[in-house]
């Protein structure tokens, strides 16, 4: 993010503060892609076909509109992270509506959220992998591979998994990652390197996983 971007954003925020709703729409459009990525990564795949990510985005926009006062009252975080938090709250709500029983039983709401966004479950991540199939038999091979990867991710500490998700899937910078996780950038950076190393360690322990050319 460049400094001119930052200036642009604060200008939009100022307009928004004056009550220009169009400014929020513009800001939202600007962050649409990363927000969309967050939802894609974290929307429970059991809801595929029932809930579309763009529905979640639209509702998140309305939520943001309603809550914008709160942001201006206490602007503690960068605006993007606040929007991401709002969208995350909406996503939790969507999960609650559709998967009530499961969520309650798994107690996912509190323990597995980071900055108010549902944690990316290892299953979600692995499911993302299988999309790229070229033939059913290849899909089978991939699926086995992804099942291993899923296991690997599942074995990781939630925070490690989250760091990897933010850095790779949500394409966040280290600074943003640190802000989302509420830790210092230096700590986030160390954490990321450590998470990568652990992932590699776990995968090394799976026979044949890293030999596979695909």
């Amino acid at each position: 993010m460049t400094s001119s971007d930052a200036a642009d954003i604060s200008e939009h925020l100022a307009r928004l503060k004056r009550g220009e709703q169009q400014a929020l729409a513009d800001l939202f459009a600007r962050y649409r892609e990363p927000l969309r990525r967050m939802i894609d990564v974290r929307l429970d795949h059991r809801l595929n076909g029932r809930v579309s990510p763009s529905d979640v985005l639209q509702e998140a926009y309305i939520d943001a509109l309603k809550r914008i006062e709160h942001y201006f009252a206490k602007p503690e975080m960068p605006f993007f992270l606040w929007l991401r938090w709002v969208a995350g709250q909406r996503l939790i709500e969507v999960h609650r509506q559709h998967l009530e029983a499961q969520i309650r039983s798994a107690c996912q709401e509190i323990s597995l959220t980071y900055a108010g966004v549902p944690a990316a479950s290892s299953e979600c991540l692995a499911a993302r992998l299988v999309e790229h199939l070229t033939s059913p038999s290849e899909a089978l091979v991939r699926a086995e591979r992804f099942a291993m990867l899923e296991d690997a991710l599942a074995q990781m500490e939630p925070l490690d998994r989250e760091v990897l998700t933010l850095r790779h899937f949500e394409e966040m910078s280290n600074t943003e990652t640190a802000a989302v996780l509420g830790i210092q950038p230096a700590a986030a950076s160390k954490r990321y390197v450590r998470a990568l190393r652990r992932l590699k360690d776990i995968l090394t322990d799976i026979p044949g996983f890293l030999d596979d050319p695909s």
Partner: protein, 726 residues
Amino acid sequence: MIEQPSDKTVLASTDERDPLDLVAEEFAERCRRGEQPSVSEYLTRYPQWADELRELLPAAAMMEELRRHKRGACAVADHEALERLGDYRIVREIGRGGMGIVYEAVQESLGRHVALKVLPRHSLLDPKKLARFQREAQAAAALHHSNIVPVFGVGEHEGLHYYVMQLIPGQGLHEVLAQMRQQGRDRNGTEAESAPLRSRLSVREVARLGVQVADALDYAHNHGTLHRDVKPANILLDSQGTVWLTDFGLAKLAEQNNLTSTGDLVGTLQYLAPESLNSQTDARSDVYSLGLTLYELLTLAPPFPESNPARLLQQVSMREPARPRKLNPAIPRDLETVILKAIAREPAHRYQTACELADDLRCFLDDRPIRARRLRVDERLLRWYRHNRVVAGLLAALVLVFLTGFIGVTWKWREAENALQREAEQRRIAEKATERAESNVRLSLQAFEEIFNDLAARESAPPFGRPPFREEGKEAALLQDVLQFYDDFAKENETNSRVQVEAAKAHRRVGDIHLRRGDADKASSSYARATAILDTLLAAFPAQRTYRYELVETLTRTDPHAVPADAEKRLRRAAALIDETIKDPTDFPRFTLLAGRVQARMAAFLEKQDRKKEAEQTYRRAAALLKSLDPQLFRPPSAVIELNHVREGLATLLLDQDRTIEARAVAEEWLNDLQKPSRHIPLAHARKAHLKNLADIFRRLHDPKRAAEVERMERDRPGPSSRRSP
């Protein structure tokens, strides 16, 4: 876009961030830009961290690989804000599938509403893929059937490719299913039946729907088009109750383009035939997928309830879904049978065409007997047994399971017979039940007979009039179970007009087993019961050759030691029955064998009675009959074994009278036959005993050289399979 950091910036910022993080970030950035940065390049650039980077960069690459997949799935969403495509004005989005988003649109030049399926941008950049897409679309457009959504054509506008289809006002069956499930939950929860949108589809509605889809598939198959992705989401139900099959051939295209997103993949995999995992798809794979769709509509349960793709694939390839009636007892048995046949794991066990499936569903709807047969416990037992020739204790347990199942059938059948007398409406049902019960009974008997015969062939049966041998261990336990089965069966069905022959045969089997175990009294009484049943039958139907055959067969099972007076009478009657049934038994090899056996039994009996002359004649008649059997046409192992006994008996009889030349002639002929290799495993087992008997005969002929030669034949051929006929 983040600038590629120079080595200096990396080194400069180590105090703030882990330098490895910065390198990994740059590496990931390059992956994101579509480059394929090599790990070794980085090792050369940063030799001081080579060891760490060798570890970290592959992991980062892997995470980026995952990200790419994720982005692939999002590609569909690129054109959500679509408002117009050429001549088509988009009205609203009506669904998302494996190949893109479906919109309702108005074709303005014609003023008609259509469904537009818009493929993701960039999905058809490759000219080969584009050509394939157009070919598939043409094939689909050529299908004109009242249950197939008509395809008007394909189009392209500013790089977006789309499919134009007739707009069907209705719901996908996956939505219908979701509603039915929801209502099921509501009803269970609150008892509140607040005007349901659509009540549960009745069993017959599902069957009717199945007929329509199967007809549509059959039509398409006959036009050389496979659907490849039959599933609830691709079947639309309109307000008239008509179903429409859509998305022909698109599945393949979607696979080739990596367009399938996770949810769709799971949706597709759930209904995928096991053989499709190896890319072997034919009409029967569509039959399978339709079968699973009907399964789900009937049970409201997905056949493979697994949302994790990896485990789902495993289930599809390894498991069989639970029986539908377990999940919904209201499903009629016949319909369950049809579904189970449609979703058999082996394509060869399924309906071979969609037409056959449609026909059987129609039979079900018309209350006619269906053609599919239930795969019964005994068939599975038999399949298992065929693959596990070693008799295991497990088999005994299975037999018991099977027995219970069988008694269940009989009970149902009686129930049906009572109903027959009560109400005309129920008659057809009862008849169907009876037919089924009968065929089941036959299957059961067939299964047991095969097991029994196999056991019997392990060793040659004891020569007639010789003391029986005793089974040991597991084999004895198994025989006990088989005995129990036949006994129950015989008692259960004695008064039942339709399977009396089977009941008689069961009694006979019981007798055989008793005899095998040395219980002659029990054997006689079982044989007597069998005889009585067949006598009655034959009196009612004198022309029935089957009854005669079975009666003769039963009459030959007489133990001369137990009831000598009775034996001759029974055997004479058997011979007479054969004579009056057929003028020349050699025309009917089955009867020839039977006649030979009757003569052999008679000869043994006469010999015991010391009626030597009669015995010799009878032995010779028996030998002639048995030798007349053409090995190319019909000469089962039992005939060969019987002939060996006859020869042994005859030779012994002749030796007893010091007629050595005649005895030697018999022995030489016998030896000649034994030198011919045999294909039959049971014969190979019996061979040892036969050679020993023949060697004894030669010894009694004072020819120890020949006897030794015969014994060498046994040693030279240790196993049945070591020498083959050329």
